[in-house]
Symmetry: D2
């Protein structure tokens, strides 16, 4: 896997383990038991699946191979909680996750407690070999990725219920008003992108390498709800010329006319958030748009989306962190990219086709999990993550 | 709707109401909260939906129109719990029932308590008009139909979980061994079929009318697991000549090789039941076969399935009541059949195309809900009900 | 197969063979080569396929088994022209028929000439065994069925082309004006239906058997375009209450608002016919409606469709022969029905599920191919045959 | 559209017009009428559609706007022959192209003759404005693209017919044996890619721009049939680890085990070519593999596919021109890419998502239509073009 130097000493790792593991459960605290179970569409996983799957990761890649004498909590969980690791055998097909009422939520919390107890003993035990530290750190980052998915999947589950149940009455994510409409100018030339330094990174952020950029400009802020509303009012969804061919097909088939979670009720655009339905706030960043919409918006403005290299090079001069930002870059390997051996090698490389890179981080990204070399990726039609738009020209 | 004379006096109806309503909850008692929520395939409904929908029936067709001053428990439940009544407006599409985590199970039990409380006051109130008695009796029979569905849907939900959870450790349904292989001979001539008498019947059992039958023979018992296993061992699933063209297509696409819930494990045929996986009991009636399988089995035996008229005419001389028995009759109106006006008229008539009649009753049918004129109906490929086979020739 | 006495002497059969075989080619005469090739939807077969398949029938069931020394025209045609006979091995899947540019039209006419030449020698040769006469007569009736399909498939191919090409400028089918709105009264009692007599019939018309009918009335004429237009104008396609549940679903998904081939152009309802687009003729029988539409129309009139037994019993007193008339009877075996052994046994029995019986004949039915016991059958959603509506009450 | 200086004087353009237009018809000469009509899968277009569509291009973009008094051959052809230009209104949906028997092949040749006659007069007429020259040159390049599609679509149509008809008995495309297994070394640094010079290029080849490359090696020859067979024999299609996740899914669903047109017959791998079935020639370049197969092959070799920039920079030192070569580059705009206004602007830009770049040219590419900056693009699962593999490391 990735070449890196462990940033954390064993003590640091142990406390980070507790903190990360706890955070997943904190996110789920406001849920009813029923909310843990459903899977309205294939891309969403039931919250109980996320809780089980992240636990299975530590059991499978640390306790089973390295903790001698460890007895699995339930041998059949391999089948239930494997996500996509072909090397690890059969698994529940993704579309069936929401069809399983068992293991129950109680079972899964017991599973978490069991694995955490064993991890605790194991981490205390002795000197951890480098391999274990590597996988442990990957496991914690993996769980943090699922924490963001927990937020977006919970929002999808509640936000697609006709009763619009509230996750938490208070505002869940505080966001800045966006008023700066400036663009930063970047001069063409050779730059370096990719991870550099001492901490953790995913394999897809390596190798750090040179690229050549032309002169470009990039917006300081992401596009606001107000901006996007103007696009909608100007017929953005009914004029094919702003759209990719696939995007136009998507508009036709989906009937989309607004970002996800926007509802036109009593002459007003309302927005379902984790704290319920509220009127659109014009000064906040638009959220839950897909790549087709992001690209169409940019075309309507006579501009374009930045490439991921342009984004990274300018990252210190722009405000980012509230939205995953669609780039116009396909998700492809960097020069010198190598897949790790074994199941861990299935983490990133095999998805490098037909997906698009998003840069930045979002309000739902756990603290300490973001950096300017992070390469998030989704299919262009996805919009259920906290995704937004930044313009370039 | 049906012409009938109320069998029950108001007191009888009140106590029947309590008894029927309670039974639905008794069936659900062994469930975990999570089991109430899922919908593994479109034909299955989540148990919480059954509990809500049967309650909505009384609220919609009795309390709202007849109980003055009644305030709905939640106006949005109309949208959530309407099953297929076009006259009553928009509704959650059937495939989405399992995507709704709310209303929660607790909410639904509160809904039931609320409606039952109001029904109790209402039933006590005064003389019930005939219209109300009619709908009340229909509502109770409707809930009894859903009680059978609760059993079959719960079995499907648990029986398709890779952990094979047990609903109840003790045997849920006691069944007789079948050893009698005789056939009853019935002489041709004019007979009458259809409901006659004083109690309740569905509109599809009317009018009682004459039919002409040729001489025929019909088996005293339904086909056993042992019988069916011989068909399987003789290559029944691999020889097209026993099958309808559609049935053969179904075999090819589904890959079916046995009744639903049969699993070949360690050289033995095991059967998932509500009390868990057990070895096939050869002397019990085969269960969970669809029409294609029933007809193919009969063809392999050189016989055929009875028509529904043949079944009804012989019903007093054969043993029935453990399985819904596939007939070779399409579900069509009897002479003089009339749809009731309004939403109640959508109960049966609009389904009279492309479905096949099953006669009898099953181990899961509530007591007091079966009679020899009852016309159950399903699509020919369905097998998740407690369905079996009776031969004729 | 069917029990029957050969109506035709060998000489009669020989001349009938020539006449029937010639008629298929006469129907195709107005076609361009390209028209022989396409298959716009799965139910339609390319005309060249019909010409080849009917020829293959004689080659496969007569020449190969009975004409010693016969050498197949092309061994691969078995694969290309088998329609659905499972006993005869692999075949081009139905949806692929329109994907095959070869054999060319010229090849197929040569194939026909080759088989006809050999059939001619064979028929001249000597005494024909009863088996051969039986299959020969079936083959001729089979080809006549495909002649009707040729008309309906050609109409579909040309009628779904945006250029609306004309098959033949002159009227192809002469039809009577319908003005009689009377109903015939039939008294209840025991009747017999099913084939009786000396000529040919299909196995599904046997056994002749007794049935009991209640009193009923049946219209002398089929429903006219004018009648049907009133249904359309009265919102027939937008009120669910006239429709079966499946039918309403069909309306929603198909967006249907009129019979097939009706086009609303410049404020007029136009009708594509084999002689091109013409204004609707109000006094002619409505054509190209499916079962759902037929049943909805009858419900709107407060009446119903006849059963097939009612139709047959009244057949001598009503005017029929211009439209295949939807009945409210499912396609099921008559008492005593037996499938023939071997491939011939696949002709009818295996389709006896989920299809609906049509009675009568149509303007496209070849002369000498109709009788009042004939049981045609299609799926309820089909409307590309020359299908119409007769009312009963 | 593209900035360029016309390479051809008007006389040159006129003779090029004749030559290009004639070549399309030459390709179709060996076809039967029926071969012009069919469309076995959505990606293939019927040859008669290609002949009509390329003609419609000149009629729509030159004769109608610029040749005063021009009368369209048939106004409805707009609907029939528009491929994807949203700006130009409704059109036959792509899947329906093979359902149209008319216009006939004769009609389309008349259409071509009519448009060619008018183009001839028009080109002779006077000074051509720059706009016309631009569109004319685009139209000729467009027709050349369809010439390559004619070859691949004809091969698909004949090669998927169970009779394996031969297009032309003599070898259609002469190819070199590949024996050189060397790799060229290219030193890292800044390079320029994109079109430069005076002739025609597509808009997607602009702007020429700098890129930075790391050191790399690229094979002199493309992968041979022999090479690929070793991958197959080594279980390449059964080991997920060589495949992208999507690619593995494709393997599972398609059941693919070899390149398109390979058939294992009598213990030998046979290859359908335009001259019929022949045994695989081990020294020739493998053909008809998709991106997933190309990438899996490279992974199995422990190497990778080149990027399009690596390919272009090395293009003068490698042997190319027999296969379109899959790169590991997504089809994205070059810096400064601009869409032209109007319908012409729909040519390339709107397809820049979820497609993969192929470089080079193939045996089916018309003479004069290839250059080392040409960016061909297809979806990763496509394999019916003359596509091959080149390794990099």
């Amino acid at each position: 896997m990735q070449q890196y130097t462990a940033k954390l000493n064993p003590e640091g790792l142990k406390s980070k383990y507790k903190e990360v593991r706890q955070h997943s459960q904190t996110i789920c605290k406001p849920l009813e038991v029923e909310d843990y179970v459903v899977q309205p569409v294939v891309d969403i996983s039931p919250p109980k699946w996320h809780l089980g799957h992240t636990t299975w990761f530590f059991e499978t890649f640390i306790l089973k191979p390295y903790s001698s004498g460890y007895v699995a909590f339930n041998e059949q969980y391999d089948y239930v909680f494997n996500s996509y690791y072909e090397s690890l055998g059969a698994r529940v097909v993704r579309t069936d996750r929401g069809n399983l009422s068992r293991p129950s939520v109680t079972d899964i919390y017991q599973y978490r407690a069991y694995v955490d107890r064993h991890m605790d003993s194991f981490l205390k035990s002795a000197l951890l070999p480098l391999d274990v530290i590597t996988v442990l750190e990957l496991g914690l980052n993996h769980e943090q990725q699922h924490q963001e998915l927990l937020y977006s999947d919970i929002k999808y589950i509640l936000g697609h219920n006709p009763l619009f149940p509230v996750y938490q009455p208070d505002t869940v994510f505080i966001e800045r008003n966006k008023t700066n409409t400036e663009f930063i100018k970047v001069q063409g030339g050779i730059y370096e992108i990719g991870f550099k330094g001492e901490g953790f990174c995913f394999d897809n952020e390596l190798n750090r390498h040179k690229i050549y950029l032309e002169d470009y400009q990039i917006a300081v802020e992401t596009v606001t709800n107000q901006d996007y509303l103007l696009f909608m009012l100007d017929g953005g969804y009914t004029n094919f010329k702003y759209w990719h061919s696939e995007g136009w097909e998507w508009v036709r088939q989906s009937g989309a006319r607004a970002p996800l979670y926007w509802h036109y009720i009593d002459q007003k655009w309302m927005n379902y958030t984790l704290s319920g339905l509220h009127e659109i706030d014009p000064a906040k960043s638009v959220c839950h748009v897909n790549f087709y919409e992001a690209a169409a918006y940019a075309a309507w403005k006579g501009m374009r989306l930045p490439t991921e290299a342009e984004w990274e090079v300018a990252s210190s001069e722009i405000n980012w962190g509230e939205r995953w930002e669609w780039t116009n870059s396909a998700y492809l390997p960097y020069p010198g990219f190598k897949k790790a051996d074994g199941a861990i090698g299935e983490y990133n490389g095999k998805f490098m086709i037909n997906q698009t890179v998003l840069r930045g981080a979002s309000v739902a990204t756990p603290k300490g999990h973001s950096r300017n070399t992070y390469r998030n990726f989704f299919h262009p039609h996805h919009k259920w993550q906290f995704m937004g738009i930044r313009l370039a020209r």
